[in-house]
Symmetry: C2
Subunit: 342 residues, 2 copies
Amino acid sequence: MSTRPTRNRQFRLASRPEGKVQRSNFDAVDGDVPSPGAGQLLVRTKYLSLDPTNRVWMQDIEQYLPPVQIGEVMRGVGLGEVIESQHPDFKAGDLVIGMVGWQEVAVLDGGGPNKPTRLPPGLPFPEPAFLGALGVTGITAYFGLLELGKPKAGETVVVSAAAGAVGSVAGQIAKLQGCRVVGIAGSADKCAWLTGELGFDAAICYRDADWKEQLRAACPEGIDVDFENVGGDIMSTVLAGMNLHGRVVLCGLISGYNTGKRMLGPFDTVLMKRLTVSGFIILDYAPRFMEAVMQLGQWMMQGKLRHADTIVDGLDAAPEALNMLFDGGNRGKLLVRVAVSQ
Amino acid sequence: MSTRPTRNRQFRLASRPEGKVQRSNFDAVDGDVPSPGAGQLLVRTKYLSLDPTNRVWMQDIEQYLPPVQIGEVMRGVGLGEVIESQHPDFKAGDLVIGMVGWQEVAVLDGGGPNKPTRLPPGLPFPEPAFLGALGVTGITAYFGLLELGKPKAGETVVVSAAAGAVGSVAGQIAKLQGCRVVGIAGSADKCAWLTGELGFDAAICYRDADWKEQLRAACPEGIDVDFENVGGDIMSTVLAGMNLHGRVVLCGLISGYNTGKRMLGPFDTVLMKRLTVSGFIILDYAPRFMEAVMQLGQWMMQGKLRHADTIVDGLDAAPEALNMLFDGGNRGKLLVRVAVSQ
């Protein structure tokens, strides 16, 4: 069990990034460790989840949550350890997943809509998996693919950003449904990992000059489901290869998040091919998260689903590490290790 | 019953239009009247349907049917009278709906996938209605709205190109479902017609400088269903006003058909609002057309659904009349009267 920390370092949004996130977009503030009030918990952040959506939260654009305001602690999901509890459902030493933010110590409400999730002790999975294949990104892959993609055995599923936290799980789940699965990723290494380790049928590096031809060749019967994380030219290319009445799970548009521009896509193709495009934010499925975690955990225990992660050390690394999501620097779930157990 | 015509004037595609369709994009050829072979019919075109999709067929772009080839008779749906029949299901004097093309006389196969539909005699509707509210455009409105829009009583439905053949029927059907219905059209006259005659709750003229504010004011509870015929800025504006989990029936993108450019739309809004966008081509519903016609006809007989049309005279007027669809010159179904009964 952790000792009580003596300071709380926080990263507060100082300015809205233009283009890539810079360290200078944040003020690092070392403050005192707060005390939880009635019904609250003091949580020490162990792992902070870095996600493409963090970049969206920094912008003052239309989105699914309020933008983070200038001066606020940057919003972020993390895994932490309860240090002190003023709520009967939690006790010191509990591991929880919650909106800890970019800070070493967080005060969280133990109840209400944003209460953290307590991890049952003794589960045979490494802690980072609860932010990855068994966490929000895994759950995102699960509901996005199964509820909206509705893949049928024998169909072809293409996953963009396939080596990322969501894509790598979505592709594995599609394989478990009996689909032909083709991933799109940013390096030959990642492609080799997708086919060699995760069981994808093919993987295409979008930096190859002939990647569009490779994609076509990898999908000889056309594409039935696009699990879309990227947008832009990659999305347009995939949609152009889709079969009539294909389904597009619109999970993310990461290629646009750093641009400051509107993220457009080919409505003409959607019309002519009679595609169904389903915008998708995992928060809508919150009441059903447990269903997904149970199935994902079962697959992991059976060796049918792999969690992968890329871990960087120290909260100070968070701003620049976030850019790895855009540059393709991570494989699987990208995490910041904020504190080690003491 | 018609006498046998002595010539067959045809409009053949001579060049692919750039921008608006020009008379010079067609060769008018006066040929002999052909004789139907075994299993075929000779049909004299009475009314030719003009539709935005005709413009798409003229272009060599990705679409749901093969583009019309240079030198081919322009494709078109029409209502005609059987002059001679070599097929047991049809006899001279029958009225049929079919792919007559832009010509005065057509030879059609009496069987097979493209066989014409014979109109039962004695129905209490004017002939043009069978190309409008009771025809393909009415059926388009019916399935698009009900199957994909899934409107529930009390929801707000916005229809673009609301005074057109599809939009005017879609809006009326939405009213019959108990929805609040807001139309977008191109003139104050049309808007007055939509609210005064067709029962729309509100209608907005997109040529007004403040039309976006008017639209917002007309949809105080947000927009649940967009029946989209236009695309471009109109579509983006409607989507920006949609409620979470709204449905977009993507029926047409007429604002783009004359531009020669890709027709893009706001995938960021689709993602953030978790919209479902359903590309929609009515041909997919062909096996169920009768179901729609029965219901539409019943509503018309009950006085709950109105057919409206704009009729121009003479096949020679077809190329330039098609532009009325883009300039807003028509109200309801746009038809060319090719021949009067003799």
